[in-house]
Subunit: 244 residues, 3 copies
């Protein structure tokens, strides 16, 4: 039996992070907290979500449990809940998830976890460049580039961190020097990524949330968000595109 | 001759209540106040609107008068008027309605009342259950159910009032006990209704408005809204759907 | 070489004024300030934009310069800039315009000015009626008329200024007497104009902006907006429609 109480904001953050890539997923109620990961249907991006049990208002898990859920539907429901509202999320039998807040109770059929695509192994990546910045800044930059291109080049060297996009008749460049970044190691890196994916990742975050970007050269990038005041950790790993 | 002055909010409330069901209607300027009623084209729902003359800023009706109007158009116009703005609504001849506020004056052709569908008789209903609640709460519940079903079951018994909807893979239940309701007689009732209609009814109201629901079993329900601080009374009667 | 610094609001206002009529235009960096004018593809309306150099934070123009630009794209970019943000707008070579603010830099290819439609001569108009009013009031009136007609009659005589539109079953009349207008000479005039154009013109302005309308009878009208606290002057000249 699993009985938890979380805030509306945490439930929404978890669901939004995952729907960026898949509509069904497995969720693990581990003794140390909640965990989920999934790869998108094109095998281009992976999401890893971790919520330690200390971030959860009340977390009672007798035996560790894995369920399959329609995460899209849970995201829709979570949007109707106030950020500070407390929500009971429970599994009382093998067939349904109960989400209860205020006077309303949802009972949602579970999906057999074995019917959901196998979870990915988390790759070990050796990434020389590390950039820490406000997620809101990154979001604004990505949203500007999407008007003119499908791809964006992320670049790091001792001078700073650069986001670059090229359209048919224009070019956009965002430049942040080390002193304008929250943390920066000046490592050398340059990789091109799909703007569509980056924009999906950014939806989970807002101004004030911390984003750590780890980059190599023509290599996958890691985008780690610290959300809900550090209570929820969402990490995306994204395959690079080949520059022509 | 009819010369009245109403607030923008009252004009908009009257118009919105009626457009939920029909686009043309009769309006009666009676000596005791304004009255209108209509049945929707599918004969499933009836709306009854009453505004006593004391709710109206200025109400001069020499001889009682019935007009036919394009209520849709009046609703559109009313949306451009501030809630507290005073509006002159007058009938100066047999052909047009004049709506005047600030520096703007609308003259709208009247419709021959005999060309508008006959008005319904208001049925006498013996409804055992009476539930009084905040219209905003009911609105939120209906808006949650519409995502998963076309129908909703409203249920009352000594334990409380319940709103229930069933989708293919989930179920939503709203439960309010007697102490959570503004007024409740614990009467036994259970009827199923179309969510589309209930959602249309709710558009007229917001948080803070009083809604009185009267129910029977597999029987029409009555939904009475007290609007604009009690100045406007809007009542809907809705036929039940048969549960399969 | 041209190097200027303007506020986001001024850049957006210039761009929005011009996109109302064309998507590409010439911009002249004159020693006295910035100037642009264009006629829409149907030859019905003309826009004239003037920003004196004193309205511009910093204005360094060594040699007067004319460029061709995709003004649509500049408008899109300007919408992402805060009103009070300072923007560097520079021409460093013959091929591109640089727009730089905060950490972002756009480089946009210029268009050969000779490939853009020839600029109109500004006609001399002898217009007997002059009406000065709040642009927000005019905007509201035009937005109300667009629901019922394609054309609007603007009328002036000693009694005041009137905006009139007729639909199939209704008529709207806005009336402002001399004392309700900011300035009014009571001149006799009556011309009909396309609502589509007037609505486009109004987008550039808001409540608090000054609009001067100059009218004749069945004659072009002039609509002059004082924007951004008088720093930007946008004038539209619009051909009349023939009343049937």
């Amino acid at each position: 039996m699993v009985e938890t109480i979380v805030s509306g904001e945490i439930l929404r953050t978890i669901a939004r992070a995952i729907v960026a890539l898949v509509s069904e997923c497995r969720i693990h109620f581990l003794s140390k907290g909640l965990h989920s990961r999934a790869v998108d249907p094109s095998n281009v991006a992976m999401v890893i979500v971790d919520v330690p049990k200390d971030s959860i208002e009340s977390y009672r898990v007798d035996v560790e449990k894995t369920i399959g859920v329609d995460i899209n539907r849970i995201f829709e429901i979570s949007k109707t809940i106030g950020s500070k509202d407390l929500v009971e999320v429970s599994i009382l039998d093998e067939t349904s998830l109960r989400i209860k807040f205020g006077s309303v109770e949802y009972n949602i059929a579970l999906i057999d976890p074995s019917a959901i695509r196998k979870e990915p192994k988390i790759p070990e990546l050796n990434l020389p460049a590390k950039i820490v910045l406000d997620a809101g800044e990154f979001k604004k930059a990505i949203s500007a580039t999407e008007k003119i291109s499908e791809n964006v080049v992320l670049k790091s060297d001792k001078h700073g961190f650069t986001i670059e996009a090229k359209g048919d008749i224009e070019r956009i460049t965002f430049t942040m020097t080390g002193s304008e970044l929250i943390e920066f190691n000046g490592g050398e890196a340059r990789s091109m990524f799909s703007i569509d994916y980056l924009r999906e990742f950014c939806k989970v975050a807002g101004a004030g949330d911390l984003l750590t970007i780890s980059l190599g050269t023509n290599y996958p990038g890691r985008f780690s968000f610290e959300l809900v005041g550090g209570k929820v950790r969402v990490e995306y790993i994204l395959a690079p595109r080949v520059e022509s």
